[in-house]
């Protein structure tokens, strides 16, 4: 079971590395987001069946994951941009485009498909849960110090 999980994580890492996520922290965040969204959606579908709540949650989680995927891919490239004005303009253009597309998809989901808004919000919130967990793990890891060796002691 542990071997399977580590194989899954490694294969995800390789795939993300090939797609340009070279920074290990960002790669880990994107990987965790994909796994968290996927597993939580499958869990909801298994527990609740194909109910409106379950698929609305899945739709929200997929939407948040796709948004983060494109944001992370763009963020890695933009910090090496020497021209600040161009960087800010590119960020704002992409942000408003993404927000517009997200709005259109959310409109279609709520008005046409009859998705549950609370479930959609819960699905979108999975990204915040991912970041908080990542931050908590980082803080816990930074608080753990190795025992001093002979010279330091």
């Amino acid at each position: 079971m542990t071997t399977r999980a580590s194989t899954l994580v490694t294969s995800f890492d390789r795939m993300l590395f090939r797609r340009g996520f070279v920074n290990p922290d960002i790669r880990m965040l994107v990987r965790n987001q994909i796994l968290l969204a996927g597993f939580s959606t499958v869990f909801c579908l298994a527990i609740l069946g194909f109910s409106a709540w379950a698929w609305s949650y899945g739709a929200g989680a997929v939407l948040a994951t796709l948004n983060f995927w494109f944001l992370a891919g763009f963020g890695v490239r933009i910090t090496s941009q020497p021209n600040r004005t161009e960087a800010v303009l590119a960020t704002l253009t992409r942000f408003y485009l993404r927000l517009g597309l997200t709005g259109a998809v959310l409109y279609a989901l709520i008005v046409w498909a009859g998705a549950r808004p609370v479930a959609l919000l819960t699905g979108v919130s999975i990204i915040v849960v991912n970041f908080l967990c990542w931050g908590a793990v980082k803080i816990a890891a930074s608080g753990t110090r190795e025992a001093p060796n002979g010279k330091e002691a």
Partner: protein, 106 residues
């Protein structure tokens, strides 16, 4: 004092909700909600845009001054941008709920 305040606030909240519930389908209420959602989304998008612009500007400056710290700066920047974008999406969903799935509009 606290009890009186809580009672007064609860009464105001109940009266406000009852007013909206009784006014379901009233064109004036629909128009007010439409204006409110448009204004709220405009403010949310503008605020998030300003925040993102400031964050990117600072990250570019930081990377230019200290290229060795670019990895850490990028991670922090992406976290900040994702949080800001989540806020904008939350605002969007709330506005869509108010417009198309409003529980007080029948």
């Amino acid at each position: 004092m606290r009890k009186i305040l809580m009672t007064a606030l609860n009464t105001v909240a109940l009266l406000a909700l009852a007013g909206v519930a009784f006014a379901a389908g009233d064109p004036a209420v629909v128009a007010t909600i439409s204006w409110a959602t448009a204004l709220a989304q405009g403010v949310a998008a503008a605020g998030c845009g300003i925040g993102m612009g400031l964050g990117i500007k600072a990250a570019c400056e930081g990377t230019a001054r200290n290229p060795e710290a670019s990895g850490k700066i990028t991670v922090t920047l992406i976290l900040g941008l994702a949080f800001l974008e989540s806020l904008a999406i939350y605002g969007l969903v709330i506005n869509l709920i108010l417009l198309f799935a409003n529980p007080y509009m029948g």
